[in-house]
Symmetry: C2
Subunit: 319 residues, 2 copies
C-alpha cells in the first residue's frame, strides 16, 4: 500500500486481521470473499452474535472472547457433522477500545484458526456507542444429504451426549462469585467451549444439536422437531469431577444451564457400535443417558431416586 | 409446535423471521442452514455491520433500516458480478424494542427478498444494553474465476460509474438539516441504496467495487490494488437533478461523500460496447468519467476549470 495516510479503520484491519485471512479472502482488501466450494458437498452455514454484558463480561480477556465467538459457531457445525471451511465476522467496538484489546482478540482467533484448520474470509469493523458487539458466520461442508438435523429421532433411539454436562452453567456461577472453583476447570469451560468437531456423526446420529441452552431445553427441541418424547436418567448424565464436587444442590443447574457446547444426539440402537468406534477414534467421550419414545414432545428426567424431577421451564433464553 | 410456553426469543423468531426463511434454512429451527451450492460456481461471501447512532438514526423507520442492511451487502455482491443466493443475519436489540419495530424490520426484509429473489438462511437474535446492532452476511455465486475484483485495472482502461454520484452524501446532509430536499430524492437515496444487481459486469470490467466510502477514496482503492493512477473529470461525473440544484458548493461532497452504492468499474476500451449493451439490457445508466494510467497509485480530479481539485484526504472511515 503506497498511501501512508490510510484511515484508522484500514490500518486496524491491516495490522490485526489481515494476517488471519485465508485463500479467497483477497487479503481483506476487497468487497467480498471468493471461494470455490468443495465439489459435490452441501454447504452448512451458521451465525451467532455475542454482546458484552450479555454473553461475556467486558473485562474478559479478549483472546478468550474471540475464541468463544469462533467456537460456539464451530460447535453448530460440529452438531451437523460438518467440516469447517472458514468464517466471516463483524466487530463493533467503542472508540476507546485499545489496540491491545484488538491484538489480544486477533491472537485468540489466530490460535483457534490453527487448531481447527480454518481461516478468516471477510469482515467489517465499525465503532459503536454501546458495548462491544460481535457477529460471526461460519461455513462448513458435509456429504450431500448427510447433515444431522434436529428432526429425525425415532422411538427407541438412545439419547447420547458427548463429554460432561453442566460445567458451562457452573462456570457462570463461578464467574458470578456464587460457587468456588479451586481447579479453575469450571470457569475454563464457561469461557472456552470445546467444539466437538471430528466426531463422525453424519450417517450415525438420526438427529442432533449442540447443548447451548441447557440439556433439558435442548432435548425438548429434539422432541418437538421429531414429534416424540424422551426420558433421561439424571444419574447417568456425565458430570465432571468439579461438578460432582459441587454437590447435589447444583444438579438441577447442570441439567438446565446453558453453555455446555457438547453434542446431544439421537442414535438408533443399531448404530451404537459405530458411534462408540467414532468416539474412540476422535477421543471424544460419549454416554447414553436415556431414550426417545412415542408420545407427546416432552422431556422426563428421572432423578437419583427414580422419581421424575421437577425442573421448571428450564433452559436459557437470551431475552 | 406443541409447547405453548416457548421462551420469548423463540416466539419472536417464529412470529417475525420464520416467514422469511427459504429452502435450506430448516424453518430457522435448527442450528445451521444446509445449502447445496449451484454446481461449478464460485461462492461470493460478504458481510457488513450497521449500528444505530453510527450508520442509521435510532428513529429511522425499521423497514428502511432492514432494507439498507440487506442492500449494502447486495451491492457488494453486485460489484463482484455475482448472483445473490441468500443471507444470514444477527440482530441485537435493547429489551425495550417494540414488537412493532420487529414487525417493520421483517416487513422491509420481506419486501426486498421478493424484489431481489433471495431468502433468509439463518440468524441469531440477542438483547443488548446498547443501541440496535445488526450484522448481515450475504452469499452469492458467479461463474468460476469470473468474479470482478479490486485489482485488475490496466493503463488505458476507462473509469466508469453507474447511476449518479453524491446523492447518498447529500441525503445525509438533508437528514442532518444542512441541506433542503424538496423532492425527497436525496434523503431516499441515503436511506435506501439501489444495489446494481443484474448488470452483467463479469468478463467485461477488469476491476470494480461499489462506491460506499466516496468516489475519490474508492477509486484510490482500485488504484492501489492495481498499482496504477487514475484521472477523472469532475464535469463528467453524473449528478442527479437535485445534486445539480444543490450547486457547486456541494460538488466536493458529491465526489468524496459515502453511501452511493453505485458501481465503480475499470473497463478496457475494447469492452465499452459490451458494457453499454449490458447497461441497456439491465436499464442501468453508465458513464465514463476518466481513465487509468501507469504511475503512482493516485487519483487526480480535474475540476470544472480543468485544474486539479484539492479534495483533501476524502472519503469516509467508520473510525
Amino acid at each position: 500500500m503506497a498511501d501512508p495516510v490510510l484511515p484508522a479503520e484500514f490500518a486496524l484491519i491491516a495490522r490485526h486481521f489481515r494476517p488471519l485471512a485465508g485463500p479467497g479472502a483477497l487479503d481483506l482488501q476487497d468487497d467480498a470473499a471468493i471461494v470455490m466450494p468443495p465439489a459435490g458437498r452441501d454447504l452448512v452455514l451458521t451465525v451467532d452474535a455475542m454482546v458484552a454484558e450479555v454473553h461475556f463480561l467486558a473485562d474478559d480477556p479478549p483472546d478468550l472472547v474471540a475464541r468463544k465467538l469462533l467456537r460456539v459457531n464451530l460447535s453448530d457445525l460440529a452438531a451437523k457433522g460438518a467440516v469447517p471451511l472458514g468464517y466471516l465476522m463483524t466487530i463493533s467496538t467503542p472508540l476507546s477500545t485499545s489496540d491491545e484489546w484488538f491484538a489480544g482478540f486477533a491472537a485468540g482467533l489466530a490460535h483457534d484458526q490453527a487448531a481447527f484448520g480454518i481461516t478468516l474470509l471477510g469482515g467489517d469493523t465499525t465503532s459503536t456507542p454501546g458495548p462491544v458487539s460481535l457477529s460471526l458466520t461460519a461455513i462448513g461442508h458435509v456429504a450431500p444429504g448427510a447433515a444431522v438435523r434436529r428432526n429425525g429421532a425415532a422411538p427407541g433411539d438412545g439419547v447420547w451426549v458427548t463429554g460432561t454436562i453442566g460445567d458451562g452453567a457452573l462456570g457462570l456461577a463461578v464467574a458470578q462469585g456464587r460457587l468456588a472453583d479451586p481447579s479453575g476447570e469450571l470457569l475454563g469451560r464457561y469461557r472456552l467451549p470445546q467444539p466437538r468437531l471430528g466426531l463422525a456423526i453424519a450417517g450415525v446420529a438420526s438427529a442432533g444439536m449442540d447443548v447451548s441452552d441447557g440439556l433439558v431445553q435442548d432435548l425438548g427441541h429434539l422432541c418437538r422437531a421429531g414429534r416424540l418424547g424422551a426420558e433421561i436418567d439424571a444419574a447417568r448424565v456425565p458430570l465432571s469431577a468439579p461438578a460432582r464436587a459441587a454437590g447435589p444442590d447444583w444438579l438441577a443447574t447442570c441439567l438446565t444451564g446453558g453453555d455446555d457446547y457438547e453434542l446431544l444426539l439421537a442414535v438408533p440402537p443399531g448404530c451404537e457400535g459405530t458411534l462408540r468406534a467414532a468416539a474412540a477414534a476422535a477421543g471424544v467421550p460419549v454416554t447414553r443417558i436415556g431414550a426417545f419414545h412415542a408420545g407427546e414432545p416432552r422431556v422426563t428426567v428421572r432423578g437419583p431416586d427414580g422419581a421424575p424431577m421437577a425442573l421448571g421451564a428450564g433452559g436459557w433464553s437470551h431475552f
